[in-house]
Symmetry: C2
DNA sequence: TGAAATCCGGGTGATATAGTAGGAATTCAG
DNA sequence: CTGAATTCCTACTATATCACCCGGATTTCA
């Protein structure tokens, strides 16, 4: 039940873009260095996010990527689902195109899977990139304060 | 973020054992036929569940498996975690032995992962095998009723 | 005594993951 | 106007995991 690196790196990259929202395009080089990720691999993830209209790109020197909407309008769920597809724990409870098993009707395991799926969706849809930025500033503020003691 | 078949088949098998709890050992052949699973593969899963003291086995003819505790004392979480390990969506938030990344302290992505992990655990720890049996009987009763209309 | 089971270790083909490689196209700065 | 920076695009690949299967040893009941 691990998230693949697609989802995780995607969140990290989108968080970076949220941190610098409104300050022009940010290059993949910057993101990759800040988050310690492979630049080439990030490229592929950004292509997916761009096609899903979650980021905009600017080509050429001094180019880069920026969020396609304000950080409080993009949720972690938008990002993860774009990169990983449905977070349903089993094929029979994928939201739009479930793969029905033979006993789909009266299957108690399916009920379990639905409850897991729903709880994951509820969490990731409730967290925006803005929330992450605020968490980050709060965490950093706290550790800065610690140095004064 | 799919559950592997280990977790899913494990739940299905444990549900079967719960359904016949108190009626003596159930053979893998029966379980495999009822749930449409590979008998040989189930064998490996049951070995893991047996070592974790979730099931007891009886060898020889008329042997099989039975729950090691009443269905209301075994949760879906017990089964899934035994077969799949932690359900943490990233290594940095595995409960007992997290793999700390460099920025572990002030990482906003880690907070997201923790919230996903906790919501999954909350759901699976709240569902017992007994709950599944009751769901199953309710669902079956309903469809039997439907035929009368 | 033989059939029905569990137990056990190893093997295996297919698929997904997490990248790397190499270059084309675009755009800004000087 | 040239070169550096950067996105864009396609293809390739090593590794690991999954989801089993195989073959046989052992145990136990009828």
């Amino acid at each position: 039940m691990k998230l693949s690196t697609k989802g995780r790196y995607g969140i990290q990259a989108m968080f970076e873009l949220a941190l610098y929202y409104g300050e022009g395009p940010i290059s993949l080089k910057t993101i990759a260095e800040n988050e310690g990720l492979s630049e080439h691999y990030l490229e592929q993830l950004m292509a997916i996010l761009r096609k899903a209209d979650l980021v905009k790109s600017v080509r050429g020197a001094q180019g880069g990527y920026m969020l396609a909407a304000p950080p409080d309008k993009i949720t972690v769920g938008d990002v993860i689902r774009t990169l990983e597809g449905s977070l349903a724990p089993a094929d029979c409870v994928v939201e739009d195109t479930p793969f029905e098993c033979s006993r789909a009707g009266g299957c108690p395991t399916k009920l379990v899977m639905e409850r897991i799926r729903d709880s994951i969706n509820k969490v990731i849809d409730s967290i925006t990139l803005q929330d992450m930025v605020e968490d980050y500033r709060r965490l950093n503020q706290k550790s800065a304060f610690m140095y004064y003691i």
